[in-house]
């Protein structure tokens, strides 16, 4: 009965959406409304106005930088939500079911990962720093950093990872992305221009562009490292909860 109602509602929504799709402008046409109004200016002047030859990065950091500030606030908020619900800082929970199972990852896996993790992090730093001119950027690099730490944790266990990345080191880094954005914004306010303006007035062209470059770099690095640490912390908070169900019965 419930299923029938849901299917009926879905058919209604589906017909409405398909109808709308049929009325949409033809896909891929370069004369569509979205390609003649705002995008041309971004594509033509993005490099000199916003200081990044990858126009997507220019949009993310400069034209719509405020959205990105909201976005880093969203992941920060998700982190706070996860650690509050799962109570990360409750003492006495540092192991997972994996750690107490007694089955360790083999030497081959551990050695390979020991070699791989630095390389992966190096690649992530490349992705972060080259976000201005090639596809990539803070979030992508952050995801890779997070993945490398998760890989490390899977092979070496949670106690080892939390020893390498203790809480007092992770907590400031987690909010670093939001702080970097706000710092860039407040710099603008100090110079008497709008929030999140990167070109400061009253400086020579060279100095202004250098400062813009440094600010964008700091934000990208902030997003990258904070993103990676946030994913790691979410994972740590989630796996340590296993302890509650599985009592340690080491062989």
């Amino acid at each position: 009965m419930r299923k029938a109602i849901v299917v009926l509602a879905l058919v209604g929504i589906g017909v409405m959406l398909i109808y709308a799709v049929g009325e949409m402008p033809p896909m891929g046409d370069s004369g569509n409304p979205d390609k003649v109004h705002i995008a041309p200016r971004y594509l033509e002047h993005g490099e000199e106005e916003a200081g990044a030859s990858n126009v997507i990065t220019a949009v993310i950091l400069n034209y719509r930088g405020y959205d990105t500030m909201g976005e880093v606030a969203v992941i920060f908020c998700a982190l706070c939500a996860v650690v509050a619900i799962l109570n990360r800082e409750k003492p006495g929970l540092s192991r997972t079911s994996m750690d107490v199972s007694g089955v360790k990852a083999s030497v081959v896996v551990r050695t390979t990962i020991r070699f791989l993790v630095p390389v992966i992090i190096f690649f992530a730093v490349y992705i972060i720093l080259h976000g201005e001119s090639t596809p990539g950027g803070g979030f992508q690099g952050g995801a890779i950093i997070g993945a490398s730490i998760i890989l490390f944790t899977l092979a070496f266990g949670l106690p080892e990872s939390t020893r390498k990345l203790p809480l007092r080191f992770r907590i400031p880094l987690e909010s670093f992305a939001v702080i970097a954005f706000l710092a860039a914004g407040f710099t603008g306010i100090v110079f008497g221009v709008h929030f999140l303006t990167y070109l400061m007035p009253g400086l020579s062209e060279y100095a202004a562009e250098t400062i813009r470059h440094i600010m964008m770099m700091v934000i990208e690095i902030g997003i990258g490292f904070a993103g990676g640490i946030i994913f790691t912390s979410i994972m740590f908070a989630m796996i340590r909860e296993d302890q509650c169900e599985l009592q340690p019965d080491s062989p």
Binding site: R2, K3, V6, V7, L10, I13, G14, L17, I18, Y19, V21, G22, E23, M24, P26, M27, G28, D29, S30, N32, D34, K35, I38, A39, P40, Y42, L43, E44, G46, E47, S53, N54, V55, I56, A58, V59, I60, R64, D67, G70, E71, V74, I75, C77, A78, L79, A81, V82, I85, L86, S133, T134, P135, F139, I234, A237, M238, E241, C244, E245
Partner: protein
């Protein structure tokens, strides 16, 4: 209904199908993790839709390089928007999964009809 246009806008149609699929999973599937998967399918469908809006036939990536005219580049705005969308989707999923962990701890099951007595959370 403009059937010619529908046939031309095939990406949009597939994203509508994905959207309905996800909505069905969220509304009907009893397993909470499947509901969360349904949410993710819905989100992905919207991302596909947005990227398709910005597409230009045989266009280039919006990275300024020599010899590529801006008019042939795809629209960068939808790509920037879905980056935000992806992060939002990841965040929502993380919160949902941590709630699922807690629910499993308390109820010993992830079946919505068992947890709520009658029906799913809808």
């Amino acid at each position: 209904m403009n059937f010619n246009r529908i046939a031309h806008n095939l990406n949009y149609v597939s994203s509508v199908v994905l959207f309905l699929l996800g909505l069905y999973a969220v509304a009907v599937k009893p397993n909470l993790v499947k509901k969360i998967m349904g949410l993710n399918i819905m989100e992905t469908s919207v991302f596909l839709f947005m990227v398709s809006i910005g597409m230009v036939g045989s266009g280039n990536a919006p990275v300024v390089t020599e010899g590529v005219k801006p008019a042939t580049m795809v629209n960068p705005i939808p790509q920037a928007l879905i980056l935000t969308g992806i992060v939002v989707a990841v965040s929502t999923t993380a919160v949902a999964l941590s709630l699922c962990i807690k629910i499993h701890e308390h109820y010993g099951t992830l079946n919505a009809s068992e947890i709520l007595g009658t029906g799913g959370p809808f």
